[in-house]
Symmetry: C2
Subunit: 344 residues, 2 copies
């Protein structure tokens, strides 16, 4: 024991150099063994109250911080959960992420966040990467194939959101009620020829919505057409105006608010009166939907609650009994000013 580095810890330039205090340091400081320290800190009660107190005291004094990474090695549990989202350009996801993060941090999990920029390769890579460091993965609006997702789900707990995949846990808003209300609303106003402004063809949710709208319209005797678009964005919604006008529909259900608002804006630019000439219904109820004139009639999507529920589901898959979410996941029509009876 010659030339013990002494207290090099505190004074090496003072910045970013002192290496962290470990349970080993504590043990040495107190003439105890590292295992005792570990136990005292993790399984309170299994150690004499007195020594436990001493240890906690010393830990505070020396500024001990547990190194979660080191702990993750023997246990295999990192208490990290990953959120991978295919496209984060829609502000609607904002609340989803907040909800998921809130639940995660409340239960002592760290949330890692990645956007895959719509690329399936990027997405699959990200997931595989993350799977080795996270306890579970939350896939939001994934662009992967069902079989890819099923395969990924075999390795580690995984939950998909805004989508359903056979054999994989999933959490999505109940879009049916809101959509039904929307179609009934239009029907009640007298619309008999309606357009569905479509989302991404590869999106499960888009096909799901289309099917619901289709069935509902058929059963009410409404003619319905699907109007394809390039992307689920504001601009793409605006560019759809030609197809919409050409179709002769009197009302439009849009895949999301971004598209509806883009279309609304373009209508105004081109002098198409909303709602007199064309009724418009969005989806999500993002910030901004109620700010326009006319304010947008839309379907409220409880994305904060969906994010919470999805994270809770994931933690359940991980094995952390976490209780159930509170908020309802049902969507609901919010009638504002962009819908009215069709002009004859």
């Amino acid at each position: 024991m010659t030339e013990e580095p002494a207290d090099s810890s505190n004074l090496r330039g003072g910045r970013k150099t002192r290496s962290a205090v470990t349970i080993y340091d504590l043990a040495q400081h107190l003439n105890l063994s590292p295992s005792t320290v570990s136990r005292a800190l993790n399984k309170p009660g299994r150690i004499s109250a007195k020594t436990e107190a001493r240890i906690r005291e010393a830990a505070k004094q020396l500024g001990y911080r547990r190194n979660p990474l080191a702990g993750a090695l023997p246990t295999g549990k990192t208490r990290i959960v990953a959120l991978v989202i295919s496209d984060f350009s829609n502000p609607a996801y904002f609340e989803y992420v907040r909800g998921a993060e809130k639940v995660a941090s409340q239960l002592g999990y760290t949330l890692v966040f990645t956007e895959s920029q719509e690329s399936p390769e990027t997405e699959i890579n990200a997931v595989q990467q993350l799977q080795t460091s996270a306890d579970g993965i939350l896939l939001v609006a994934s662009r992967l194939s069902d079989s890819d997702i099923q395969e990924l789900a075999e390795t580690k707990p995984l939950v998909v959101s805004n989508r359903h995949v056979a054999g994989v846990a999933s959490v999505a808003p109940e879009v049916a009620p809101g959509l039904r209300q929307a179609v009934e609303h239009l029907h009640g106003l007298g619309h008999r020829y309606v357009g569905y402004l479509s989302g991404p063809p590869a999106s499960w949710m888009n096909r799901h919505r289309w099917n619901l709208v289709l069935n509902e319209c058929v059963s009410l005797g409404i003619s319905i057409v699907e109007v394809p678009t390039e992307a689920p964005t504001h601009d793409s919604g605006a560019r759809a105006i030609d197809r919409i006008r050409a179709s002769g529909v009197t009302a439009v259900l849009a895949y999301n608010d971004l598209m509806a608002l883009g279309l609304l804006k373009e209508c105004q630019r081109q002098g198409v009166a909303v709602p007199d000439e064309l009724s418009l219904i969005g989806f999500d109820n993002i910030y901004g939907a109620e700010l326009t004139t006319p304010a947008l009639t839309t379907v409220q999507n409880p994305l904060h609650a969906v994010g919470e529920a999805a994270m809770l589901q994931l933690l359940k898959e991980i094995g952390d009994e976490a209780g159930n979410g509170q908020g309802s996941l049902a969507t609901q029509l919010v009638v504002r000013e962009s819908t009215s009876s069709p002009r004859l």
Copy 2:
């Protein structure tokens, strides 16, 4: 070597059970040493091309995935960066986060995300927690005191954003140009009595903006008053209307768009004509600002670029030479329809 567990790896129920393949497994499989495998995978070139190829091949075959956590233990580098934001309820931060995440993932870093819900204790805990697992921290709109931040910055690389703290790296948009343009714009329109709808008193950025506006107004001979609010939100902006009307100002500069839009909405509800009776200028240029009628005149805040720049700065502090950001951080006035000459 009796009862070697054989190939238990593949068949234990098939799900979530097979423990990951390690460099050790590869080494054994190839009759090499783990270190050779490690080198082949990390420092290409330092190993004979032939064996390196064999190793890579085997890695692919056996589905080897590096365990970043295990690697982080000896090196102390996790390639994790943490983003802690005090309040994520303003959609303006949306783009900031996207920018930061993009840069991080492009450089092979994983982004962990935490919202501290406006609570300084939560924030400081989160940072300390994260400091042991992350290579660096990005603090956005921190509610901590300068001295707390300075102290935290001594442990690990840390960058503050939307704020300046002596001795700590920081990245913030240049608000001066946009604010100057805004004041000049109002001055040019003939306004001589202006209100500043204030942000959080504890916010560095709020004080910074107020000082800039104050100086600019004084030098132009404009009377300026600071109108306090409860929170930087839509509702709080709406509730400020009484103070605004009572003050007699002819124009308002709001701390952010949320507040400006809230105030705008309330003006419309109460029959105050914007811009005829009251001119309104926001800040940030969030989605929604151009959707209102009248569309909101506001200051464009390049938050995506700020997020990128902040992350690049952080990586630089970490020691990862990462190049410089491209986008300008200057703000700029966007004149729309919520400003006009004051009615006499």
